[in-house]
Amino acid sequence: MPYDEALERFEPVLGLETHVELGTASKMFCGCPTTFGAPPNTHVCPVCLALPGSLPTTNAAAIESTIRIGLALNCSIAEWCRFARKNYFYPDMPKNYQISQYDEPLCFDGYLDVEVDGKTVRIEIERVHLEEDTGKSTHVGGATGRIHGADYSIVDYNRAGIPLVEIVTKPIPGTDRLAPEVARAYGTELRELVRGLGVSDVRMEEGSMRFDVNVSLMPRGSSEWGTRTETKNVNSLRSVERSVRGEIERQAAILADGGRIIQETRHFHENTGTTTSGRSKEEAQDYRYFPEPDLVPIAPDPAWVAELKAALPELPGVRRKRLQQEWGVSDLDMTSMYNADAIVLVEATVAAGAPPADARKWWMGELARRANEAGLPLSALRITPDQIARVCAMVAGGALNDKLARQVLEGVLNGEGSPDEVVAARGLQIVNDEGELMEIIDQVLAGNADAADKVRSGKVAAVGALVGGVMKASRGKADAGRARELILERLGVSE
C-alpha cells in the first residue's frame, strides 16, 4: 500500500535496538585484540574459542565505556548488576551461550533528544547493557547467502567476544508520518553521540553499529498497539529509514486486507527496500537466562560514576549549536550538513586549516554529488578532510582554479594518491608562466582571425570565444581571467 494511504489509515509505533561494537583494545572476556580485518581465526584464544576449562574475565574498559554511553543517554547507572547467560545453540557462538545481561542492565531509564523537521522529539531509552559478539558465519553455495540451502558454512571466530553494547529504546508512539525520519534521526544522533564519546569507531559498513528496527501499526483512533515485527541487522542509516517505510507499507497492506501481522524477525533487502520473513517469534526460543556463575557482579562505585559523568565530552546537539555559531551558517545549511552526515567531516576539514565556507562547499557540493552517484555515505569516500583542506589551500594560493580542483578530487577519489601527487601526475598546475600563455594566445589568435577582428573592431563580447579557445588549448590549465586580459592587451583593446 502506498505510504501516504497507509498513514491515512494507520499510526506506526517504533522501537529500536542498536548494537555497538566497542573499540576496546581487547575483547570482552579475554585478551585477544579486536582489530577488524585480520585473517580468519587469528584473534582467538582458549577463552573466546570456549575450549574446555577456559573462563571469562571482565574487560574493565568495556564496563567504563558502557557506563559513559549510559550517562550520555541520561540513564541511571545500576549500583549492582550481573551478567547473564543467554542459552541457544549456534555454530558461530563458541560456548553455545552468549554472556549478556538480562533483567539487571548496567544502565536504564534514559532519553535522547533528536531533531526532525525543526521539532525536537524525545526518544526514551529503556536500557543499555553489555554483552559479547558472536563469530561470523559465511554460508557458501545456495542462492540466498543464508544458511538455508547453503552447501557448507565457514566460521570466523575473530569477532567472537568483542564487546557489544545494546541500546534499547522504549516504544516510540506519536511519530506519525515522520516515523522513518525519526528512526533515521535517532540512529544518526546516537551514532554521533557514541562517536563523540570515542568508545567506538561506529563504522556501519564494518558492522560496528547495527540496528534492529521494530515496527507495529494501529488503526487511527485506536489506542491498542498492534503486533510488531523486528527487522534485524539493518546496517546503514538510510536503510533504517527505508526499512521503516517499507515495513509500514507492507503491514498496512496486510491489515487493510483483514490479515494479521505475525510477530517475527525480518530481513531487510537493500536493493528493493523491502523486508522478507525470518524466524517466527511465535515459537519463541527459550533462552533460559540465568546469572553468569563464572563472573562476579558489577558494582560501579557511585563516586567513580559521578567522575565519569563530569568528564563527559560535549554532546552532539550542544556541539552542533557551537559549530553553527563558529561557522556562521544558517539553520538550513546546518540541517543539510547534519542530514548529509557532513558535520564531522567539515569540522575535521576546518581543523586541518580550510575556511569553513570552502570546507562546506566541497563536502556539500562536488563530494556529495560523487557520493550520491556511487551510492555511498560521504564518510565512505576515499578522501580525507586533510586532503580537502590541502586542495582548498591550493585554490586559495592560486595554484588551482575550481575546475582543476575538481579534477584533483577526482584523482584522489580514484586512488591516484595525495592532492599534490595528482597535480603532479596529471599536470594540473595553473599556467602561470606568461610566456607560455602568450604562445598559446598567439596560436589561438592566428587560428581565429575573424573573432580577433571583431574584437579589434570593438565587439569586446567576442573575446569569450577566444578565451574559450585558450582554455581548450591549455586543457583548462590557464587562468581564464588572466588570459582575457592578455588577449585584449595583445589586440590593443581596452574595456
Binding site: G53, T58, N87, P94, F290, D294, V296
Partner: protein, 496 residues
Amino acid sequence: MSLVHKTAADLGALIAAGEVSAVEVAQAHLDRIAAVDPQVNAFLHVDAETTLKQARAVDARRAAGEELGPLAGVPIAHKDVFTTVDMPTTAGSKILEGYRPPYDATVTRRLREAGLVILGKTNLDEFAMGSSTENSAYGPTRNPWDLSRIPGGSSGGSSAAVAAYEAPLSTGTDTGGSIRQPAAVTGIVGMKPTYGGSSRYGLIAFASSLDTPGPFARNVLDTALLHEAFSGHDVMDATSVDAPVPSVVAAARNGDVAGLRIGVVKEFGGDGYQAGVLARFHETVELLESLGAKVFEVSCPSFTTALPAYYLIAPSECSSNLARFDAMRYGLRVGDDGTRSAEEVMALTRAQGFGPEVKRRIILGTYALSSGYYDAYYGQAQKVRTLIARDFEAAFQQVDVLISPTTPTTAFPIGERADDPMAMYLADLCTIPANLAGNAAISVPCGLADEDGLPVGLQIMAPVLGDDRCYRVGAAVEKALQARWGGSLLSRAPEL
C-alpha cells in the same frame, strides 16, 4: 619402607637432600602403577616418558643448585578434568576422547612450576557427575580396600590412586562432595578448599558456582602442602578470592584443639546412616572432647533441603556449561558425512558422546531453567542456598568448626546403586551444604566400620577462608587415632 609408601613431605625432603632422585621416585611409582592399576583402574592416561622427562628436569634444577620447593620432584596424579598440555584431557567422557588441550589449567601449571611430576590423569565420573566413578566412559575404578566396591566419586580415580600407593598426592574437584566422599570411602584425606580459594581456570566445568579444586593425600600434612602449592588468587578466574591463602601447613603441623568449640550437626545422623559409620563418628567426637575441645550440638535446619537444591542448581549450570561440546571446534564429531546439517551433527554427537547420567542432568537443568519454571526451581534453589549460608553463619557464631560423618555409608558395591540415581545422590547428603555455601571442609579417616571393615570419614567444616581450621582439627584427630591404631588406617588395607 619402599618409596611408594613414603609421605610426600618425606619424598620432597629426600629429593631436596639429594638422597634420592626425582627420577627414582617417579620410576618407583610408575612401577607400582604398572603392577596394580590393571586391577584398580585409577588412571586413564599414563605416559612414562613424559613423566620421567619432568623428573629429569627437576633433578637437573637441583643439580644446578636451584632452591626447590618442599614438593619438588614429588609425583602427582591429576583428575582428568584439569587441562594438561602434555597429556590428553577427557573429563571421563567419550565426547573428549583423545582431546589434547593447548594450555595448562592454573592448578597444573602452578604444580608444574613447584616441580611436581605428573604421573598421569585419573579416572572420574563423566564430567565429574557421580559419586562412584561408575559413570566414567572408560570403565569404573575399584576401591583398593575391596575391588568389588566403588572408590567414591566423582574423583574416584584420584582417591584410589593415592589409597593404592600409586601416587602420594592427587588433585580432585569437589562440586557436591566429589573429593571428601572418595577420600572417606578409601581411607585417605581429601580437602575441599573455600570456593574461590583454588583456581577453576582449566578445570572443565560441571557447575561453575560449586566446582572447587582440592587436594588428596594419605595424611593431613601432605594434603596441606599440596593445598598450599596450588592455591591463591588467579586473575584468570573472576571468582577467585583475592586474599592470602589460609596458613594450612602451619595448622596441619599444629593440631591442637584444646579449647576449640566444635559443633556436631544435629541434622546429620540417625535413619539412613550405617551403624558402623555412626559408631566411629561418635567415638571421634569423644576423642576430640578428651583432647580438650568443647563439643556442642548445633542445629542447621536448612541442611536437610540442601540435596534437592543442589540437584537443581548443579544440573542447571551443567546444562549450559556442557553446551560447548557441539562437535564444531574440538572433540568427537559424529555423522559429518556431507549430507547432514550442523544441527544434526551436533545432535548426533551429543547423543553418542554423552553418557546417561550426563544426559539426565542436562535434561534436568534445561527444564529447571525453562521459562515458566525458573522461579519455582532454579530461583527457589537459590533461596535455599541463601538459607544454608545463613545456617552456617549462625553456627559459626557459636562454634569454630562443624563436624559430621562425611558419608552416610561406607563404600558400596559396584553396580548396587547404578540404576537408582536417588540412592546414589544420597552419598553426598552431608557434603553438599559446604558447596552451596562455599565453605571449607575436609574429610579425614576415623576408623573402620564394624559391619564391613571399610573406612569411615570424619567431615570437618569451617567458615569461608577458615581452611586452616579443617587442618588443625584434622591433624589432631589423625595424631590421636594413629596413636591408638599404631599406624595409619591405610596400613590396615589388604595388599593388592
